[in-house]
């Protein structure tokens, strides 16, 4: 005759399995709740950093070189050698910065602004405009340095307008267009500055 065994609810192996699972669940829940409490803190003055975020020697070398090129350019400018000064500033653009270092964008944009002004002072308006446009195109984010590029772009438009004015009646319409473009560039600069200042104030 076939023997029938009615399974006992919660036989020893099952009871052990359930108890173990329950213990693990409770431990996990406790750890999560504890960690959740730990996260409720005011924003710290420190932040989580990736190793690539840390200021390292590579970044300091690049900044030091940029600084030296600027000083060299300043000396050339004092000597009235604008061509050499322009070459010196242009070398900043080819410096190697650590990957994703935010300072790289800032330093390059600032160098482009100075380079554009140097080119403008030498009458090379087209190349100056190209330098600014390349900087704006390469920028990954808004910054005071990007706003400065727009400011210099406005100055370039103004310089062009002056040039068209000098041609007399035929250049009047173009001069008006350039002045409008200058106003648009200055407006962009002002807007970026306002947004960034607001953000900085909120962070403080």
């Amino acid at each position: 005759m076939k023997k029938y065994v009615i399974p006992v609810f919660g036989g020893l192996p099952f009871v052990l399995a359930v108890a173990l699972a329950a213990c693990i669940a409770c431990t996990g829940a406790c750890l999560i709740s504890c960690s959740g409490e730990r996260d409720v803190r005011p924003p710290p003055t420190t932040r989580i950093a990736d190793p690539s975020d840390i200021i390292d020697q590579e970044l300091m070398i690049a900044l030091a070189q940029a600084k030296n090129f600027h000083h060299k350019s300043k000396v050339y400018m004092a000597d009235g050698n604008l061509t050499a000064a322009t070459t010196s500033v242009r070398q900043i653009l080819s410096l190697h910065f650590p990957k994703a270092a935010p300072e790289a964008d800032d330093v390059r944009n600032d160098a482009r602004a100075l380079l554009a002004k140097l080119l403008m002072s030498q009458g090379q308006l087209d190349e100056a405009t190209r330098t600014i446009e390349e900087g704006l195109a390469a920028s990954q984010r808004e910054s005071f340095f990007v706003a400065n590029l727009y400011t210099v772009q406005g100055e370039l438009h103004e310089a062009r307008a002056v040039g068209f004015d000098a041609t007399g009646e035929p250049g009047k319409a173009a001069a008006i267009d350039e002045r409008r473009a200058a106003i648009a560039s200055y407006d962009r600069s002002i807007q970026i500055n306002e947004r960034l200042q607001k953000t900085l104030l909120e962070e403080r």
């Binding site: 029938y4 009615i6 399974p7 609810f9 919660g10 036989g11 099952f14 399995a17 359930v18 699972a21 693990i24 669940a25 996990g28 829940a29 999560i32 960690s35 730990r38 996260d39 803190r41 710290p44 003055t45 420190t46 932040r47 989580i48 950093a49 190793p51 690539s52 975020d53 840390i54 200021i55 390292d56 970044l59 300091m60 900044l63 030091a64 940029a66 600084k67 000083h71 350019s73 300043k74 650590p98 935010p102 300072e103 964008d105 800032d106 330093v107 600032d110 100075l114 002004k117 140097l118 984010r141 910054s143 005071f144 340095f145 400011t151 210099v152 500055n193 960034l196 900085l200 962070e203």
Partner: protein
């Protein structure tokens, strides 16, 4: 053509007819047989007709509730019924109503697994949540402060120079030299502080 049923009907006496002496004697003898059976003194031998009648009488008495089964017999009857219910093949039960005993038995078999499985799933989810949790500020790097996810002072970190330089006025649009000096000095300060904190190591 006359059948056996016709013969039986012919042998059934009219209920209004007075019983004969032989019938009364037979009834008395059968009553004694029933009494003996109920008192546990069933005769070892009896006629087939008497045995059949005796079984019918016993069943009728039990159906009226006058007969109680012994606990062992009750258990045997219940177990027999459950056994039959459980041993019924699943295919045979297609389209049939599942018996309550079978349903409960199935539930009993599966309940521990359901409970254990659910608990294990909950535990696995909790552990996975803990494992994948975004590290909080309290999980600061212990030991190497430059390790991935380390909590380090702001001045040690490469960052935008916006906060340092501020808005650039139009008059100072070309003063990049002065600004690079400020940026370099600030970052050098952070770099040196970090090196000193690490005992001069890079």
């Amino acid at each position: 053509m006359a059948t056996q049923d016709d013969d039986n009907v012919a042998r059934i006496p009219d209920p209004d007819v007075e019983p004969t002496a032989s019938e009364l004697a037979h009834a008395r003898r059968f009553a004694e047989l029933v009494d003996k059976t109920l008192s546990g003194r069933t005769p070892p031998a009896m006629s087939a007709d008497d045995r059949a009648l005796l079984e019918v009488a016993t069943v009728i008495r039990a159906a009226h509730g006058s007969l109680e089964l012994a606990p062992s017999q009750q258990r045997a009857v219940v177990e027999d019924a459950l056994r039959q219910a459980i041993s019924t093949p699943a295919s045979a039960g297609r389209g049939q109503v599942t018996s309550i005993a079978e349903g409960r038995s199935r539930l009993r078999r599966r309940a521990p697994w359901i409970v254990a499985g659910t608990s294990t799933l909950v535990a696995a989810a909790a552990i996975a949540l803990l494992w994948l949790r975004v590290p909080g500020p309290g999980d600061a790097a212990r030991g190497n402060p430059v390790a991935r996810g380390a909590e380090v002072p702001q001045e040690w970190i490469s960052r935008s120079a916006d906060a340092l330089v501020g808005p650039i006025a139009r008059d100072h649009a070309g003063d990049a030299g002065a600004r690079i000096d400020a940026i370099f000095a600030d970052r050098l300060d952070g770099f040196r502080t970090r090196r000193l904190a690490r005992g001069g190591k890079r």
